[in-house]
Amino acid sequence: MSERSLGKDLLGLESLTAEQITLILDTAEPFKEVSERPIKKVPTLRGKTIVNLFFEASTRTRISFEFAEKRLSADTVNVAALGSSVQKGETLVDTARNLEAMRIDMVVIRHPSSGAAQFLAERIRSNVVNAGDGTHEHPTQALLDLLTLRDKFGRIAGLKVCICGDVLHSRVARSNIWGLLKLGAEVAVCGPPSLMPLGIEELGVTVFRRIEDAIQWADVLNVLRLQLERMHAGFIPSLREYYRVFGVTVERLERAPKDLVILHPGPMNRGVEIDSRVADGPHSVILHQVTNGVAVRMAVLYLLAGGRPELAEAAKGKGEVAE
């Protein structure tokens, strides 16, 4: 795979090189401006058909992808698992074959099973974008986090980023860890040990037991959403205790040696993993993340849509024969 292209699919950041990640971030820059235009639309993907295949409820990721697609002039169809043939027992293989038969160009898939995006990508010719698979990866979320940090600090390399919360069940955490490490950041995780996956240190991240220690160390906190059902499954005693021990609060941030930047993938549980005053305060770049989400997704769709990197290479070799 050429470092100047992404290949057919975007399944995760673990399989990408630093050059490919940087390519996406660089490509996202001009797309930020498109969303500021009076007509927030360019004809780049005119005539392309994109299916947003969501087997899991998601409002913001789906909307963000849909904006990205529409601003690139693609034709989009949203398929939600509810009410579709999936409910009637159709398998993912059948769904894939049907999509293939309808000659669609790209699929954006969100699925509760880890590996579902790869499963689909291996079985259809269309480009596949992983919009979150189980607890595996959520690459576009990590890419928008990276873009936001690059906007804020001008660089990723050398930044100290601590991912806080339910790392065990978080695809956002996994994608962020890969992306940050590849671009040269120092990465730590902090949360209840009952929500830490086995072997996490072996990925090259530091583990903090106390949120206070993480705050002392970090330039950036990426605060993960705590799924409320974790309490019922016995991973933590209560949300109240979680907030008391691991909540990112103004009081804790005030004791930090420097101003921290706070990321959150949303949707937030105010008063559980994050204090409202932090979410709405000057440390927070959460809305900036949302804006960047559209730009990053436009960049990914644009890069995948070219689809024929060998021709792109040849075109570059020609010099500027065209005007």
Partner: protein
């Protein structure tokens, strides 16, 4: 800079014997720019004279990425004293409006698009270095239309090399040359390439 281009061809494995012919040297370049500025000023004055309404239209020069942007800046500085008022400039990257994404693949990095103000009712002159097939201009017109509704759009190019594939002509032309299909017209700019010149590189001659 020209050396780098030749190298890039070598890197891609092509062995093309290049022959370089100068079309404009630095002095000729200056001369042509001045003439273009004069013609842009005249184009604007005639537009303004024909237009009715309480407000006088304003002139905006929009350069097409890459070298059209620098050309537009230079031309604006030359036009300003002729009109006795500031001339706005902008930049347009037409990558996202190309009709050949499928065949050439995505340009990895899209350039900046900067439109100075609303284009409604403005007199816009699109500035580019070389006019060839006309497809870039077609894309630029599409893109400009998404930014507003100018009163008039003109086209100014430094070099018209012929070979049009669309019914598009420039209003203001610096120099017309006859170039063959495999040839390349290199426009070099002080700001980007360290010198001003226009050269014809005949390719595919080996």
């Amino acid at each position: 800079m020209t050396g780098i281009r030749v190298l890039s061809n070598l890197a891609s494995g092509m062995t093309v014997a290049h022959k370089r012919n100068s079309l404009l040297d630095a002095r000729g370049f200056q001369r042509v720019l001045k003439r273009l500025a004069k013609e842009i000023a005249d184009f604007f004055k005639s537009t303004a004279a024909e237009m009715e309404g309480p407000e006088r239209p304003r002139l905006v020069l929009i350069g097409i990425q890459r070298r059209g942007v620098e050309l537009a800046e230079r031309l604006a500085r030359l036009v300003e004293p002729m009109l006795g008022e500031p001339v706005a400039t902008g930049a347009l990257d037409i990558t996202l409006y190309r009709d050949d994404l499928e065949t050439i693949g995505p340009r990895p990095v899209v350039g900046e698009t900067r439109i100075p103000e609303s284009l409604d009712g403005k007199c816009v002159v699109i500035v580019d270095d070389v006019l060839y097939t006309g497809r870039t201009v077609r894309a630029a017109l599409d893109e400009l239309a998404d930014f507003g509704r100018p009163a008039r759009i003109g086209l100014c190019v430094l070099i018209d090399r012929g070979g049009r594939e669309l019914p598009i002509q420039a209003d203001i032309v610096g120099k017309r040359v006859k170039a063959k299909r495999g040839d390349r017209v290199d426009v070099l700019l002080n700001e980007v390439d360290g010198r001003d010149a226009v050269e014809l590189v005949s390719g595919r001659a080996a």
